[in-house]
C-alpha cells in the first residue's frame, strides 16, 4: 500500500474502502478471542469458510473473525450482520444449518438464540441481550465490528480520523482537551492522563518516550487482552496522538508473553500502520515522526509497576525503584517517559473525535467516561462489561452479570486485582468509580471483578492473594519481601487450624508496616485483601482461630486432624 501523505488521502482511502462494501450483504462474524478459542472457535470460523465454498454462497455472505465482544460465558459467539442475529454456544455442527437456514432462507434458528433468564423469552438481536443492553460499549463495542488483522476494517469504522484531526491541533490544544475530558488512567492508580502528558511534555530533554502498558498481570482481568487482540489500531491511534502531544518520537508496547494472540495482532497492526504512513516518518505528511516497538514481558506481576516495567524494557530485572523523581521526568533510560495503560490509550481517539465536553458528561464527578470490567468467578454471565463510571455494583453483578449461579448466595466481590479489596453484600449499592472504591477499602485496579458466593472462604481468599503476592514480590525491599512471607505464614496457620489469639492483631500490624514502608505499590497495596476481609468478615477469622471451623467449608484443617 502506498503511504498516505495527507489527511485528504486518508479520507479518499476510506471512501474507496467503503465504496467496495455493500452494507446490506450479510456478514457472519465469529468471535475468535482467546476465550472463544478455548471453545474451539478457530474450527468454527474454518468450518464457515469451507461450508460457504461448498454451498456456493461466497457472493451472498462474508465471513469475518472478530475479537472478543465480551460475552465469554456464551461462546462461541456468532453474529450475523446487518440484522445482528445473535447466536450463542455455537459449535461446528451448527455451521451448515446456519448457512442453509439463516443465510439461505432467512430463518432464525431458535435453538441457538439466547434465552433471557428472567423472562424466559428468546432474544434474537445482539443489542437486545440483557447482558449487552445495560452496558455502554464505547470502547469494547468496536471489537464486534472489525477483523483485528484488517486495517481496512478499522478505517471503515472511522479509524484514524482522530489522528488526522489531532495533527491539525497544537500539542497544547490536545493536552487541554484530554485534561478537560477528565480521563484518568485505567491501569489502576487513576492519575489524570492530561496532567501526566503535560508533565512529560514540559520535562527537560530532547528524547521522550511514550509507553503502553499491556502487561495485564491481574489474574481475572482480561479487558486489555481483549482490546489488544480485538482492536489494536485503536491503541496505536491513541499512542500516536499522545506522542504528538507530548513531543515523543519513540514508543514501546510492553505485552504479556502469556497473550500470544495479542502480540501477534499488535505486530500486524504496527506493520499495517507503517505501510500506510500512519506510523513512522512524516505521519500523514504532517512532519511528525513516531515509531513503536513491541516488547514482551516475562511473566512477572510486578512489571505492571511503572519503574519495574521500564527496567524490564531496558533488558534488566523488573525491580521497581523509589519514585522521588517521577518517570514522566526521568523514566526509561533516564528520559522523560509517559506510561499509560491499554484502555487509557484506547479512550484517546474517542475524546479527540467527540470532544471533551461530550466525554465529560459520561461518568461521575471525579471519574469520567466508561470503564471495562472483567466480571468473573461465581457469576452467571462471565465476560467483559463496559459501563459508565458510577454504575452500582448491584447493577453490574446482578442486572448485567445475571447474579450467582447454582442458586447460591452472593458473598463478596473483589475489585482491583490481587491487591484490591473484598466488598461485602452491605456495600452492593456502591457506585463504582475510582474514589468510591478507595473509600470502601478496595481500589479500581485494572478492573477485575471477581464475584464470590457463600461457598467461598474469605480467610482462604486472603491467604490465596497473599500467597500470590508473596510469590510475585520482587524481593528488593524488606517490608514487602519479609512482611508478606510472615503474613502468608500466619494465614496458612489460620486456614490449617493452627491459628491463635493475637493473629488478627499481628496481621493488622504487619499490614500497617507494609503500607508505610514498601518501596512500590505492590507492597503498599498488598495488605488490602487481608485488611478488607478482617474489616468485613472478622467473624470468619474468629471461627477459624477459636473454633477451628471454616464457615464456608473450604479449609480442611488437615494438620489438626492428623494430631
Amino acid at each position: 500500500m502506498a503511504k498516505l501523505k495527507s489527511p485528504g488521502e486518508l479520507e479518499a482511502l476510506r471512501s474507496s474502502i467503503l465504496k467496495k462494501r455493500d452494507p446490506d450483504k450479510p456478514c457472519i462474524t465469529v468471535c475468535n478471542g482467546t476465550g472463544c478459542q478455548a471453545y474451539g472457535s478457530k474450527n468454527i470460523a474454518a468450518a464457515f469458510q469451507e461450508e460457504v465454498k461448498r454451498q456456493n454462497l461466497a457472493a451472498k455472505v462474508d465471513v469475518k473473525t472478530i475479537g472478543c465482544p465480551g460475552f465469554c460465558e456464551r461462546g462461541t459467539l456468532v453474529v450475523i450482520k446487518p440484522k445482528d442475529i445473535f447466536y450463542q454456544r455455537v459449535r461446528v455442527k451448527d455451521v451448515p444449518e446456519i448457512l442453509s437456514e439463516t443465510i439461505g432462507k432467512g430463518n432464525v434458528i431458535n435453538r441457538l438464540l439466547y434465552t433471557d433468564r428472567t423472562t424466559n423469552v428468546k432474544v434474537t438481536q445482539e443489542g437486545e441481550v440483557p447482558f449487552y443492553k445495560r452496558q455502554m460499549r464505547l470502547i469494547i463495542g468496536n471489537n464486534g465490528l472489525i477483523d483485528p488483522t484488517s486495517i481496512d476494517d478499522y478505517l471503515a469504522i472511522g479509524g484514524y480520523t482522530a489522528l488526522a484531526k489531532a495533527l491539525k491541533m497544537t500539542p497544547e490544544q490536545i493536552i487541554d482537551e484530554v485534561k478537560k475530558s477528565g480521563l484518568r488512567g485505567r491501569g489502576g492508580a487513576g492519575f489524570p492522563t492530561g496532567s501526566k502528558w503535560e508533565t512529560t511534555r514540559k520535562a527537560i530533554g530532547e528524547t521522550k518516550y511514550v509507553i503502553c502498558n499491556a502487561d495485564e498481570g491481574d489474574p481475572g482481568a482480561f479487558m486489555d487482552r481483549s482490546l489488544v487482540e480485538g482492536n489494536p489500531h485503536s491503541i496505536l491511534e491513541g499512542m500516536i496522538i499522545g506522542a504528538y502531544a507530548i513531543g515523543s518520537h519513540e514508543g514501546y508496547i510492553y505485552i504479556r508473553n502469556e497473550y500470544p494472540m495479542a502480540v501477534r495482532h499488535m505486530r500486524i497492526a504496527i506493520e499495517q500502520a507503517e505501510a500506510c504512513g500512519l506510523l513512522g516518518e512524516n505521519i500523514l505528511g504532517s512532519g511528525f515522526s513516531f515509531t513503536i516497538k513491541i516488547k514482551r514481558g516475562g511473566g512477572a506481576f510486578v512489571c505492571g509497576e511503572s519503574t519495574a516495567l521500564m527496567a524490564s524494557l531496558e533488558g534488566r530485572v523488573g525491580e521497581p525503584r523509589a519514585k522521588y523523581i517521577h518517570t514522566s521526568e526521568q523514566g526509561l533510560w533516564g528520559k522523560p517517559s509517559n506510561l499509560n495503560n491499554v484502555e487509557t490509550w484506547a479512550n484517546v481517539p474517542l475524546i479527540i473525535n467527540k470532544g471533551a465536553d461530550w466525554y465529560s458528561r459520561i461518568g461521575t464527578e471525579g471519574s469520567k467516561g466508561t470503564k471495562i470490567f472483567a466480571l468473573v468467578g461465581n457469576i452467571s454471565n462471565t465476560g467483559l462489561v463496559e459501563v459508565p463510571m458510577g454504575t452500582t455494583l448491584k447493577e453490574i453483578v446482578f442486572d448485567i452479570g445475571g447474579g450467582i449461579p447454582k442458586g447460591r448466595k452472593f458473598k463478596a466481590v473483589q475489585t482491583g486485582g490481587p491487591s484490591g479489596g473484598m466488598i461485602p453484600e452491605s456495600l452492593l449499592d456502591l457506585s463504582v468509580d475510582f474514589d468510591e472504591l478507595t473509600r470502601a477499602g478496595s481500589m479500581m485496579g485494572s478492573g477485575g471483578m471477581i464475584v464470590m458466593d457463600e461457598k467461598t472462604c474469605m480467610v482462604d481468599m486472603a491467604r490465596y492473594y497473599t500467597t500470590f503476592l508473596e510469590g510475585e514480590s520482587c524481593g528488593k525491599c524488606i517490608p514487602c519481601r519479609e512482611g508478606l512471607r510472615q503474613m502468608k505464614y500466619i494465614l496458612d496457620g489460620i486456614t490449617e487450624g493452627r491459628g491463635k489469639e493475637g493473629d488478627i492483631e499481628l496481621l493488622e500490624e504487619l499490614s500497617a508496616t507494609l503500607i508505610d514502608a514498601s518501596l512500590c505499590a505492590l507492597g503498599s497495596t498488598a495488605p488490602n485483601p487481608v485488611m478488607s476481609t478482617i474489616r468485613h468478615f472478622r467473624n470468619e477469622y474468629e471461627a477459624h482461630i477459636k473454633e477451628k471451623k471454616c464457615p464456608a467449608g473450604v479449609c480442611t484443617f488437615e494438620a489438626v486432624k492428623v494430631k
Binding site: 489474574p219 481475572g220 508473553n257 500470590f468
Partner: protein, 154 residues
C-alpha cells in the same frame, strides 16, 4: 544439543534483534522456544553476544517466571491458578494432575513427556478452571477430567 548447533541457534536469535542489549528478555524468549529451555551454555552465549555479564543474564532468566533453566517435557501443562479459576476449584485440578503424573508442580515426568507448571491467568476466565497444554486450551476442568485430557497427548 551439540555445542555448535546451540551456538548457531543463539546466533540467529541475536541477529534477529541486532544484538540489542535491551531486547534481552525477547532474546531469551526466542532462545527458549528454539532449544526448549535455557541451558547454561545458551545463557553464556547470549551474554557474550550482547556484551552483558553472565550474572545479569542469569538474574533476568531466573527473575521471570516464563524462563526455565531445566529441560522441559514435550508437553508443557499449565494449570491456571488465577483468581477466577481458584474460586472454581483450580487447586483440586492441580492436585489431581500431580497425583496422575506422579510429579510435583515445576517437575517433569521421568520420560520427559510432560512438564507440570502453573500460570496466573490466561484471561479465559469464563471457562475456568483452565488447563493449557502446549497450545490447547482445556476449559471447565475438573479433577475427574484430568486423566481423560492427558490421554490425548503422546
Amino acid at each position: 544439543m551439540a555445542a555448535k548447533q546451540l551456538k548457531e541457534k543463539v546466533g540467529q536469535v541475536l541477529e534477529k534483534y541486532q544484538r540489542d542489549k535491551s531486547a534481552l528478555i525477547d532474546i531469551l524468549h526466542d532462545t527458549q522456544s528454539e532449544i526448549g529451555y535455557l541451558p547454561k551454555e545458551a545463557l553464556e552465549e547470549v551474554g557474550q553476544g550482547l556484551g552483558v555479564p553472565l550474572s545479569r543474564v542469569y538474574s533476568v532468566a531466573t527473575f521471570f517466571k516464563a524462563f526455565s533453566l531445566k529441560p522441559r517435557g514435550r508437553h508443557l501443562i499449565n494449570v491456571c491458578l488465577g483468581t477466577a479459576c481458584h474460586v472454581r476449584g483450580a487447586d483440586k485440578v492441580l492436585e489431581q494432575m500431580e497425583k496422575e503424573l506422579g510429579i510435583k508442580t515445576g517437575g517433569n515426568t521421568p520420560d520427559l513427556k510432560f512438564t507440570l507448571d502453573t500460570v496466573n491467568c490466561v484471561g479465559a476466565c469464563a471457562l475456568g478452571p483452565m488447563v493449557i497444554i502446549g497450545e490447547d486450551y482445556h476449559g471447565e476442568m475438573t479433577p475427574e477430567k484430568v486423566s481423560e485430557v492427558l490421554k490425548n497427548y503422546n
